[in-house]
């Protein structure tokens, strides 16, 4: 499974969103990496991609609101990371549609998304929880 319990922040709303996000990314990767032909994978893949695009924006927004509520000092920098990812996702999906659903573009996206998401949740989001704990 993609999700690991040590990614938990101890903030129920954020943890629930992270789990949902990981579940969707995992099913996206499973379809992306399956042996089926590209044509066969496309409908499911595009559906998950569309869901993720919306869900990521929603989650980033809620997480930023939580940071504001605890006066997290890394708020601005963290917001930049989120914006960077949203920009990347938008750029890839635009290229992907323009290319008429090129497989290599999606494989490249999937690999980067995997590493980015794990690092972001395991390292950068954890700093929010560390701060919240210290603050008490």
């Amino acid at each position: 499974m993609l999700w690991k319990d040590n990614y938990e922040l101890g903030v129920p709303q954020i943890d629930a969103q992270h789990k949902e996000l990981f579940r969707r990314v995992e099913s996206f990767l499973q379809v992306l990496r399956s042996e089926d032909s590209w044509e066969k994978k496309l409908p499911k893949l595009n559906e998950t991609l569309e869901f993720m695009k919306k869900y990521v924006v929603e989650h980033f927004h809620d997480e930023e609101e939580y940071q504001k509520s605890i006066n997290y000092p890394g708020y601005e920098a963290h917001k930049q990371r989120h914006m960077g990812m949203v920009g990347y996702v938008q750029e890839v999906s635009r290229k992907y549609e323009q290319s008429n659903y090129d497989e290599n573009l999606m494989q490249e996206f999937g690999g980067r998304l995997l590493s980015w998401l794990i690092n972001h949740v395991a390292a950068e989001d954890q700093l929010i929880a560390d701060y919240a704990k210290k603050r008490g």
């Binding site: 690991k4 995992e26 690999g111 995997l114 794990i118």
Partner: protein, 151 residues
């Protein structure tokens, strides 16, 4: 300076292995002749107070193991997906080092990671040139640090 950069890259790599792959047993030694038959090489350009590049040499087996741990899926060849996941890891390690450097008032940015062809004839001289071999239970990687101070 060479020593500090060497340390910063080792620390950043250890942190990434620990947090992303849950591997804490990581050792390191300077390495002048890292040998590997089949590897994925990623270059990350550096601009700013320091200028140059970092070359990350990931043996194929190390790369496949890393992506396997992250995804829980089996991979048997370095394809576009694997190369992209590994490139992002090189990007993350480099980015973490740039943050550490900015704490000591050295301001640098990194360029997007690119796949790279090692060139044995590239004998361009760098003020800061050091190689480090990082050993873990899922394999080794080698980092080649090549930087000049901006004049």
């Amino acid at each position: 300076m060479v020593h500090k950069l060497y340390r910063d890259f080792v620390d950043a790599t250890q942190k990434v292995f620990n947090l992303m792959l849950n591997i804490s047993d990581v050792s390191e030694h300077p390495s002048e002749d890292f040998k590997c038959d089949d590897e994925v090489d990623i270059v990350v350009g550096v601009v700013g107070d320091l200028q140059g590049k970092i070359v990350y040499r990931f043996p194929v087996s190390t790369s496949l193991n890393m992506v396997n741990i992250m995804s829980g899926m089996e991979f048997n060849a370095v394809d576009v997906f694997v190369a992209s996941a590994i490139s992002e890891i090189a990007n993350i390690i480099s980015g973490n080092v740039m943050t550490t450097l900015s704490d000591s008032k050295i301001q640098c940015d990194i360029l997007p990671p690119e796949q790279y062809k090692l060139d044995a004839n590239d004998n361009k001289k760098y003020e800061i040139a050091t190689n480090c071999c990082i050993c873990t239970i899922i394999g080794k990687i080698c980092l080649e640090i090549r930087l000049n101070r901006a004049s």
